[in-house]
Symmetry: D2
Subunit: 287 residues, 4 copies
């Protein structure tokens, strides 16, 4: 991809007149060139959301001081919550898989082709099946079998490994294990899951069987951040495919695979590009 040297700010705060002008002024007057700007006001709750990305080439505030200046000059005044990212700091992703290959192939093909500004140093699995795929792409594969008895212990080891590899977010690519609330706390709004239904319909296990039994005419897939409530975290992306009475459960599973991999990859890409802001169990997805 391009070698831009940019900064990204994700902001939310109580809505008030002048925020947009104040933020753009802050960037402009210090010679930052704004590349993308998207803002949105939730009128029901009176909350202002914004993503702005600007070129750092001629920006006069040194990178390491931007956060401090912004905090002092703007965030305090407008009661902002904000996050600051730099394009030259690549997010580091760990992939969690089980036995199915369609999502992992789709993610790794994009990674291998250099499509994404990300590092994927580590694949974790509770089954050995995907080890050959990991090898194909030259990525470290670590097996952690999980039972009711050893779960806490194994998760602790996983967390340790994630720290060691400086992982900034996790992607569950049809990982068929529920993570414990304790695990999730280490990566709030930083674990992306793909659920193979059009949530909130058919949460839980065997959604294609449930969809078949209910006789729906459209199936879906949903990517979301993982929270302590199963399949109930903030939704990032969804898509659907039309089916008919002729489709058996096996055919639903097959049609669903293409949905799952595309919907998961779209969510991962948006996360990598810092386009998602999770707020009160919903997501703002900037353009």
């Amino acid at each position: 991809m391009d070698k831009k040297n940019t900064a990204v700010l994700l902001i939310h705060c109580p809505d008030r007149a002048g925020i947009l002008a104040a933020v753009t002024e802050f960037i402009n007057q210090h010679r930052g060139n704004i590349l993308y700007l998207d803002q949105y006001v939730n009128r029901e709750e009176s909350v202002f959301f914004m993503r702005v990305e600007w070129d750092l080439e001629y920006f006069q505030i040194p990178k390491e001081k931007i956060e401090d200046y912004f905090q002092t000059l703007l965030a305090l005044r407008y009661e902002m919550s904000f996050r600051l990212y730099f394009s030259d700091t690549k997010p580091r992703m760990a992939l969690f898989v089980s036995k199915m290959s369609h999502c992992i192939y789709d993610l790794l093909a994009r990674y291998a082709s250099g499509e994404w500004n990300v590092e994927i140093p580590l694949i974790i699995s509770n089954h050995p099946d995907m080890e050959p795929v990991a090898k194909r792409f030259g990525i470290e594969f670590r097996l952690f079998s999980i039972t009711n008895e050893n779960k806490a212990e194994q998760e602790a080891k996983e967390i340790e490994l994630l720290k060691k590899y400086r992982i900034t977010f996790c992607v569950l690519a049809r990982y068929m294990q529920v993570l414990s609330p304790d695990f999730i706390k280490h990566y709030p709004d930083r674990i992306i899951n793909i659920h193979h239904s059009f949530l909130p319909a058919f949460a839980g296990s065997k959604p294609y069987h449930a969809a078949y039994a209910r006789g729906v005419k459209i199936i879906g897939a949903t990517s979301h951040y993982v929270t302590g409530d199963l399949d109930a975290g903030p939704i990032i992306e969804q898509d659907v495919a039309r089916i008919s009475h002729k489709d058996s459960i096996d055919e639903l599973i097959k049609k669903g695979r293409d949905l799952e991999k595309i919907v998961l990859s779209r969510a991962v890409e948006k996360h990598i590009n810092r386009k998602i802001l999770a707020y009160k169990n919903r997501t703002v997805v900037f353009q």
Copy 2:
């Protein structure tokens, strides 16, 4: 539409070799010209489903005897359930409405343009709001206010009216009243409802509010046959529209209207053309 003189058979029976050949032979040997044929075998349950439509022009069995002959020669032998329809017998539809006009306009515009082989002699409502629309199209409008107290009584009068008008099926075009199980029994698999969500997600009232609260990225609409279980009858047709975090509840309601009217009209058209076979809370929708 065209003035074809055709017969339609909808069949289901235990799957067995030779059914398809037997049915097509029955039509061919009596000089019926098959226009459309669609069949489907549910392998899990071993059930055979079929819709066949043929031209009656040179068919040698008189119309009034077809049912009897088919019953004797084929249905008994193959344990078939079947329904026989003739294109020159138009279905007669009653429209149930409340306060919203988008679905009723869409249905009546198609009716008025002669797009459908149907009669719509009667509109029933629990509110007076749609009376001007009914008048615009010259259709009898009857008001039945419903309260908890008078519901049974009012429904009895409605049923009487439906009989008087020889209504063969009912369409609930955003009719905001739950029909009693007793009412429904008079029209099994012959009351079509539009629900303003992607069922089974967001059944019940205020689905757009629920969709907003859950933060979904796609909304939907579902047409289905009404059964005693609220929003749980056999699904006929569904469709969806993409939304974003920027859409307020009002915008969901507005985007949903176009979905609702199209999804309802598609279901009504399929019902009119005898393309739907409800079986065990699912529908087979023939082509």
Copy 3:
């Protein structure tokens, strides 16, 4: 709809730092409350586009002076082209129809339900077929038969009538007559047409026949502003529907009708809400 008293500005100009801050400041400092703001920079051509809508309730510049002030204080400095609209000035639409009713019904149903902030005082046609529909909705219907010989003369009369009715934009709802370049000059970027194909495929006449002959698997509809080049004006909205080899031309025509009416109505709504900016044969469609 709501009775907001708002102003809308549509702006484009050469891209430069500080435009966004300058415009929002202009509104904020005079106590305008910004309701919606969407901006976009075309980097290839270095052009800045913006739509901003604000509440006039406490705005300190009188309505009749806003244009002048904005011109002097901002437009000159930034070389802006801009248009200013007020929500209490309803656009006035003339409907052009021929023989088909699906689009006209869809538009008039929305109009009659009060869904749109528009007046529709006039329907013009080259055939008498739609007169009953116009009457149903109580709208003036005027017939202008067009031949090669009388075209210039008839169009002149139409223009006169449009002026008399103070029409601000025209909608061709499957109007099967090509307007002359002379006519179009009176309403630049203010005549909306619906073409029954996925443009630029199948421009010109009989697109469903052409789509069938080519064996496409998806059909479409396209709404666009009318220019002197047939079916080549700026595209506003498109949508598609899946078809199969089983669909005859008649079935394509039928499936296409639902596409056409929805795609046309979406374009008209965006035009009414001043969300479209045509620029060099493309449209910027604000949110």
Copy 4:
């Protein structure tokens, strides 16, 4: 996949009463168990099309004699063109690639996971870029640089290689070279291409640039059989994605990649499963 031992018949012939009954009888009376049957009559041209798949386990005619018997007993009588396939004879596919990896990864991921009943023994390219990907999946990669001067010679070598590997069909996975009519003659209706536009719009080179210039609101991808006319062969599958004025050409290219790979893979799957019958530059795609 399943290890079914089945036969597939693809048939087309002049439409006549009794064909369907005759074919199903032929299978039934020799104890073939019909698994899938789809038929379609093109009424305009009076042509009957059919695909039938049946279990060979108890079928009484030996595999090697089925073609002969069917020819004698049915095909002659009904003037049928037909093809007979057996599920235990895997089609053998050659992949043609250039520099882009998204389609090749998607195809090989499905192949490697055993999703398809196919062999892929050979990858041919006019550039060395994809060799590492071929190696990753352990597939023979052969480089044939093409210039205007050496084209005929190189293609002759390619054909020789395809024969040696007993290739039954070719897939052009964003292969950026036009095949000569001579090459195409060796594989009539057996070369599948993916074109990165919604054909017939934007045939030829740089379709995303053309789509951007025209200002369309939806982009597409089209898979088709290759014929002597560039981008004009029988269409197998198409799909589309919504875009906006905000999408630069680079973003169209990126969004298009996901379309291209899915649309190509769907076409390849249908070809592998013998579900496509090309007829007069259109395809019948059976279910």
